[in-house]
C-alpha cells in the first residue's frame, strides 16, 4: 500500500514519462529496500516527512538510471571499438624468412586484415595472399606462400609466363632470394 502511494506521489512530482515508467510500485519497493539507509527507512513517517525522503529516493533513482544508461553506452562503445580494432588493417614488416634458406633483399610490409571470420595477409605488390585464424598465422602462411611461389615461378621459363605471373616473379625477385645453402648468403636468382 505504501509502495502504491509512493509511486503515485512520485509520479505526480516528476512528470518525466520515462521516470514514470521506471517507477512501478514493484521498482519503488526495490528502490526503497536498496536505495535508502536503514536510518532513513526508520525515519520515514508517512506522509509528514515523506516528501524529503521521496526527493532523496528520486534523486538516487535518477542517479541509478543514469549510471545504468552510461554503463550500457560504455558496453556498446567497447564492442564497437573491438570490432573496429579487428577490422582495421595492420602493416606487418617482413624482415626474415629464417629458418628457411631465403633472404630478404629489401624489407617489405604485408597488410593483414580481418575478413569473413579469418585474417588475410597480403603482399599486394606480388598479388599474393594467405589466410589464417590469427594475424600471426596469416603472416606465417603468407611467408610460406611467398617462398613457394618464388620457387615455383623460378622453375618456369620466362617466355612461358603470362603478364600476371611474370610481374609476380619480377616483384618477388626484387624482394627475396634463395641462398645456395642454408648457411651462406650466396644468392640464386
Amino acid at each position: 500500500m505504501l509502495d502504491d502511494r509512493l509511486h503515485h506521489l512520485i509520479s505526480n512530482r516528476f512528470s518525466d514519462e520515462r521516470m514514470n515508467s521506471w517507477l512501478s510500485p514493484k521498482k519503488c519497493a526495490v528502490a526503497i529496500g536498496h536505495g535508502l539507509e536503514r536510518r532513513e527507512r526508520v525515519a520515514l513517517r508517512w506522509p509528514d516527512e515523506g516528501f524529503l525522503l521521496i526527493d532523496a529516493l528520486a534523486e538516487r533513482w535518477q542517479e541509478l538510471v543514469r549510471i545504468e544508461a552510461l554503463e550500457a553506452e560504455v558496453k556498446l562503445l567497447k564492442e564497437r571499438f573491438a570490432t573496429l580494432e579487428q577490422l582495421t588493417p595492420i602493416l606487418v614488416p617482413v624482415e626474415t624468412f629464417a629458418p628457411e634458406p631465403y633472404e630478404i633483399i629489401k624489407p617489405f610490409q604485408v597488410v593483414v586484415k580481418f575478413y569473413e571470420d579469418q585474417y588475410v595477409a597480403s603482399f599486394f605488390d606480388a598479388n599474393l595472399s594467405a589466410s589464417g585464424g590469427t594475424q600471426e598465422e596469416a603472416v606465417f602462411n603468407l611467408k610460406d606462400m611467398l617462398i613457394e611461389a618464388f620457387d615455383m615461378l623460378n622453375e618456369i621459363e620466362e617466355d612461358k609466363l603470362g603478364p600476371g605471373p611474370r610481374q609476380q616473379k619480377a616483384v618477388l625477385r626484387e624482394f627475396l632470394a634463395r641462398r645456395e645453402n642454408g648457411s651462406n648468403n650466396k644468392r640464386v636468382s
Binding site: E116, Q118, V120, S129, E148, D151, G162
Partner: protein, 90 residues
C-alpha cells in the same frame, strides 16, 4: 564464414582446368592458356575443407562474386579467359 572455402577453391581449380604442383605447404593450381601460365593460386595443404581461401579471387583477377560463380558453375573457363583478356592479363 568464408566465401571461398578450400572445397570451392578446388572446384574453381578444376573448372579452370588447372594443373597442380605440390610444394611443402601449398598445392599450387596453375592455369595455362596457349602454353603460358596466366594465373596461379595456392591451396594450403592439410587445411579443413571449409577453411577460408578468400584471397583467391584477386589472384585469378576476378571479383569474389565471379570466383564463386566459377566454382558453382554458371561462369565457364571461356568466360574467365574473356575477363582476363579484357583486363590485359593475357
Amino acid at each position: 564464414m568464408a566465401v571461398i572455402t578450400k572445397e570451392l577453391a578446388e572446384k574453381i581449380a578444376r573448372k579452370l582446368k588447372a594443373t597442380f604442383i605440390s610444394k611443402k605447404e601449398h598445392d599450387f593450381a596453375q592455369i595455362y592458356h596457349e602454353g603460358k601460365l596466366i594465373a596461379f593460386f595456392g591451396i594450403r595443404r592439410g587445411s579443413q575443407k571449409d577453411e577460408g581461401h578468400d584471397f583467391i579471387p584477386s589472384q585469378i583477377f576476378v571479383s569474389t562474386r565471379q570466383a564463386k560463380l566459377l566454382g558453382q558453375c554458371p561462369l565457364l573457363r571461356e568466360d574467365w579467359i574473356q575477363i582476363l583478356k579484357a583486363k590485359g592479363k593475357i
